[in-house]
Amino acid sequence: MTDILKFSIPGKPEYVGTVRLAVSSLANCAGFDIEAVEDIKVAVSEACTNVVCHGKSNRDDCYEVACEISEERIIILVIDRAGGYDMSQYQRPVMDNPKEGGLGIFIIKALMDEVDIFSELGMGTSIKMVKYLNRL
């Protein structure tokens, strides 16, 4: 059985914490252990922060967080219409000389089992993150 939950959130910093709490509660109910819940919480929060920080749209515009929960995994999609960005410009952070920005995507990729990012300049971005239950 698969359940899908969708949230629509104004692109303001103060609501990122609300998404974080909602999604971690969902992951907890779905049976993920504490460490996995924490990973999902951080990854979703980073994806939302990306929208709020880098989006070019009005902060009153909403972005969408969709969670698909099944017995073996959780899929989380964070979709915005905030202008998109050129993925080829993304640079993996160099940790011997860390910079203030650019850590978000790196962290998401480190914490989730699968991550796909689609971005179209002038349109928006969607980040798809998957975490499997009981994956060793």
Partner: protein
């Protein structure tokens, strides 16, 4: 989601002892930045950031710490993180920031 910060200058150790309590994310990171900036403006010295009551930090919070570290380099001062919880330790580890920021882990 809130962040409380206690900031004290330790005359004996000649360093700032700053304690972050709660969550640092995109909405509270500016508060952390303001506090660290204010401390350094008041007195240029090393900063020890106590994290035992910090429940959550994200890339914006880590970015603030990296930015502060950069500003402090000019004066040869350092920022050091102590007593992070397991979840925060994991984040510091995957970003390799523990190597530069946490000498005691």
């Amino acid at each position: 989601m809130s962040l409380k910060i206690q900031s004290n200058f330790n005359d004996e150790g000649n360093q700032w002892e700053i304690k972050a309590i709660g969550d640092v994310d995109i909405s509270t990171a500016p508060k952390l930045r303001d506090c660290l900036d204010a401390a350094l403006q008041d007195k240029k010295a090393n900063i020890v950031l106590h994290l035992e009551e910090l429940n959550y930090i994200d890339s914006t919070g880590l970015g603030v710490i990296i930015g502060t570290m950069g500003k402090m380099k000019e004066y040869e001062n350092q920022i050091m993180l102590v007593n992070p919880k397991e979840n925060i330790k994991k984040l510091l580890n995957i970003t390799s920031l523990d190597r530069i920021l946490c000498p005691k882990i």
